[in-house]
């Protein structure tokens, strides 16, 4: 068991290394440097800055220096947010992005499954079509259109919700961003649920239950729901990736200091360390996640371990 885990862990290391090298090369290949600005600096000052940040060293040397830092757990100082280290920034931003994404996922599942089941029950009726078309807007209108529209309506005109993030407390400021992020997923999940639920509802054991006089709601809850969930499960992977993508835009629109925002800022500012740090962080996270799941899988199904 332990051996299995260790083997998998070791296998993950070349993956990570590849990711780091790739990201490092890409970031340094981008034209322009982290300290370029509107004002051209006198050459002596540029030289001083390059020296202070080791940018005057040859690329391989910079890479080695960076890598040894990473192995010690030091992701370096941010080149743009000079008073903060990359680890600090990630430590503040990640939980926020996670909360946002997690809430969006929950909301999407909840509403998506409910809507899809409802539509499946009232199949081919006007309500079914309506539900489907409405949820389709979630995937047909980009989030950077929906979000400002919602802000305009609910925050500026109606003043029901805060218009922004900073300086506001509590759950209220999560509402609009989470909804914006969840909308596209609600559509997909509703569609998937509906299709799968229709299949399940027409299967024999369900028809038997109905024949025995079980109400629609009970049928869904006790018989149909679980099997109908299978396609949703397979969709979880892509769903998480989609939420990650969407979060970049949502964070930008609402001014939320999450990882997506920092990455975009970092790429545009040529903040090498920040960009690399985020890439490494995510890659490590996903690798670890896969590892944990694999281990659990191995625990549950011993046959796998023998591979």
């Amino acid at each position: 068991m332990l051996r299995y885990a260790l083997l998998r862990l070791l296998g993950a290391i070349p993956t990570l290394l590849l990711v780091i090298v790739l990201a490092f090369l890409m970031v340094h290949a981008a034209p322009g440097g982290p300290f370029d600005a509107e004002r051209t600096l006198p050459p002596e000052i540029e030289a001083n800055i390059a020296r202070a940040y080791h940018l005057d060293e040859p690329l391989p040397a910079q890479f080695v220096r960076y890598l040894s830092g990473v192995l010690k757990g030091d992701l370096g100082p941010s080149y743009r947010y000079r008073d903060h280290t990359v680890s600090d920034l990630i430590a503040n931003a990640f939980p926020l992005s996670l909360k946002l994404g997690g809430m969006a996922m929950l909301l999407a599942l909840f509403i998506g499954i409910a809507a899809g089941s409802f539509a499946a029950l009232r199949r081919n009726s006007a309500i079914d079509r309506l539900t489907m078309v409405v949820s389709m807007t979630g995937i047909s209108v980009p989030v950077f259109v929906i979000a400002p529209l919602m802000v305009l309506l609910f925050a500026v005109k109606l003043r029901w919700l805060p218009a922004g993030w900073s300086g506001n407390e509590g759950v209220a400021r999560f509402v609009l961003p989470v909804i914006s992020l969840a909308l596209p997923q609600i559509a997909y999940i509703a569609k998937l649920t509906r299709a799968s639920m229709i299949d399940v509802l027409s299967s024999n054991f369900v028809r038997t239950a109905r024949g025995q006089g079980l109400g629609a709601y009970a049928v869904i809850r006790y018989h149909a729901l679980k099997p109908a969930m299978l396609p949703i499960l397979s969709y979880m992977g892509p769903a998480i990736a989609a939420i990650l993508t969407g979060s970049v835009v949502v964070e930008e629109v609402f001014g939320i200091p999450g990882l997506g925002q920092f990455f975009v800022r970092g790429a545009l500012n040529r903040d090498y360390t920040l960009v690399l740090g985020i890439v490494i962080f995510y890659a490590t996270l996903i690798v670890l996640l896969n590892l944990v799941v694999d281990i659990l899988y191995g625990v549950i199904d011993p046959r796998i371990r023998q591979r």
Binding site: G164, F262, L268
Partner: protein, 541 residues
């Protein structure tokens, strides 16, 4: 499939947990404090005055720090930490006497040695400060930056606790206004000794300004609160200031309209019309010390040694259309290099400034012919600008102006800011490029000096002996009126050579809530929070 189920459960569990956690955030019990909410378009790089250079950083630094001099609420140069000063007759020695009651936020007095230490730190090569050369005329600055002399050799000496003497190697009439800049603010030597680089963290950071830094959430907000030890604390009306980092202009506008922000950092150009209709009194647009221009790469054809071509392109631009239709925020069309409103200066104007646009176009066509271009030798040029809606519109407009008036094909190339900068500095592939200059201090020198041949900020690579020598003469002048004449003549020479096309002069634009009292538009766009107060009814949004 089993795998998927496990992943799903994990994810759901984590998500649920986090949701519950965030629901439990208690609201901070706030005492009745007046809090001003200001919008900032980007995080400061740093609150270390020597490690930052952006306009946004300067805004925050002006609230938490103070230099030898400062500006009053009405925009006049007044004493900051220095209560009086004398200048020697030759203009090379300045003696400052510091206030007795100037203190750091932990009660320590602000001493002359603090300033001397800070200036040395500014020019120290190891600090790698962006603005190390800002006080370039102080004795030994250049050699220290180049590493040839030690920081101790800097011409800044603390004679005693309260007296600071600065020695220059050339007269610098605008030195006093330079000393209002955040790069010249003092840092607390003991803090640096104790905390090293971490001295900038909230909690460690000592401030000698009206406010101190309580917290900084990058990407979100900087929280400042009153510095009780500030010498002018009694005059400071507002207790706390929140600088909200809002990178999207529309988001900032929405928050302003929702009443969450009192002062915005800027105004989205697309919304100006609407704002003028909805809330005209809150819109503050004022001239700002900055010029926006298209520079020519003078090191390569077709613009090298071709003043007629440059003049023609400059003439064919209809600046009125640009400021009315494209930027539309009340900018002034630029027919000079130095903006209006600069201290003790009357800008020169381009020779064709008084012609009508049609006349200019006709003249320009003649010049193009003279330069050797025509239907059989068509001119094709490239124009580079950085990614931004307004820049794009500007470039598109000028592209069609040059096409319609002169028959020139211009390819417009949109580059990311960093890329544009790198290309402009390299001078290999650029022909026409978008550029601008914001003045560092209220003097014509800051706008003209960038065109001196040895100035790294000289993007077009303009090298005119006549211009350089005129600037030199101006630099030697102690008499301010004589100096002004030399500078004006230098500008005239510059304009006649057309190293670039000045297009418009900047304006500062803010939305200021009617609850804010004491806002004064000024040409430097400095708005110290300590000069403002809030009407009691709408104090906390």
């Amino acid at each position: 499939m089993l795998r998927d189920m496990i992943s799903l459960r994990l994810v759901l569990l984590v998500a649920l947990g986090l949701t519950l956690v965030s629901c439990g955030n208690p609201v901070d019990p706030k005492a009745e404090v007046t809090t001003l909410h200001r919008g900032l378009s980007i995080d400061p790089e740093s609150v270390d005055p020597h490690k930052s250079r952006s306009v946004q950083a300067a805004e925050v630094l002006r609230d938490i720090g103070e230099g030898l001099l400062s500006y009053s609420a009405s925009g006049e140069l007044v004493g900051g930490v220095a209560k009086e000063w004398t200048v020697a007759e030759d203009g090379l020695t300045y003696t400052f006497l510091l206030r007795d009651d100037a203190r750091w936020s932990n009660g320590d007095p602000v001493t002359a040695e603090d300033f001397a230490f800070s200036f040395r730190r500014l020019v120290d090569p190891d600090t790698a400060a962006f603005y190390a050369e800002m006080l370039g005329s102080i004795v030994n600055v250049r050699t220290i930056i180049a590493g040839e002399k030690a920081p101790q050799d800097l011409g800044v000496v603390a004679v005693d606790e309260r007296t600071l003497v600065i020695t220059l190697d050339q007269p610098t009439p605008y030195l006093l206004s330079l000393l209002t800049s955040p790069s010249t603010f003092p840092v607390h030597p003991d803090s640096i000794a104790q905390h090293g680089d971490a001295f900038t963290r909230p909690g460690n950071l000592l401030s000698n300004g009206a406010y101190k830094l309580d917290a900084w959430e990058p990407g979100s907000v900087l929280v400042l609160s009153r510095n009780e030890y500030y010498w002018n604390n009694d005059e400071t009306a507002i207790d706390a200031v929140n600088h909200h980092v809002l990178t999207q202009e529309m988001t900032e506008l929405n928050r302003y309209r929702a009443g969450e922000i009192h002062i915005t950092g800027s105004v989205p150009p697309d919304s100006i019309q609407q704002i003028r209709a909805e809330r005209p009194a809150e819109l503050h647009i004022a001239p700002y010390l900055g010029v926006y221009y298209y520079g020519f790469n003078l090191t390569k054809p077709p613009f090298k040694d071709n003043p007629q071509l440059r003049a023609a392109l400059s003439m064919a631009v209809d600046r009125d259309v640009l400021v009315e239709q494209i930027t539309g925020r009340g900018e002034a069309p630029a027919y000079s290099w130095v903006p209006p409103g600069v201290n003790n200066y009357e800008p020169r104007r381009l020779a064709y400034a008084d012609m009508s646009q049609d006349e200019r176009n006709a003249h320009a066509r003649r010049l193009i012919k003279e330069a050797g271009y025509g239907p059989d030798n068509p001119l094709q040029i490239e124009l580079r600008y950085n990614t931004s809606d307004t820049q794009q519109r500007m470039a598109l407009a000028i592209q069609s102006m040059w096409k319609d008036a002169l028959g020139i094909e211009t390819t417009i190339i949109n580059e990311e800011f960093q890329v544009l900068l790198a290309n402009t500095q390299a001078r290999e592939i650029t022909q026409v490029f978008r550029s601008s200059w914001i003045g560092d201090y209220n003097d014509a020198h800051t706008f003209l000096s960038i065109m001196e041949s040895d100035n790294p900020a000289n993007q077009p690579a303009y090298a005119s002996e006549e211009f350089d020598s005129l600037m030199q003469r101006a630099a030697q002048q102690v008499d301010l009126d004589r100096r002004r004449l030399w500078l004006e003549e230098a500008e005239r020479v510059l304009l006649a050579d057309h190293p670039g096309i000045p297009l418009y002069f900047y304006v500062s634009k803010h939305l200021v809530s009617p609850d804010v009292v004491g806002w004064g538009d000024n040409v430097l766009d400095y708005h110290y929070s300590q000069h403002l107060s809030l009407v009691p009814a709408g104090a906390t949004p």
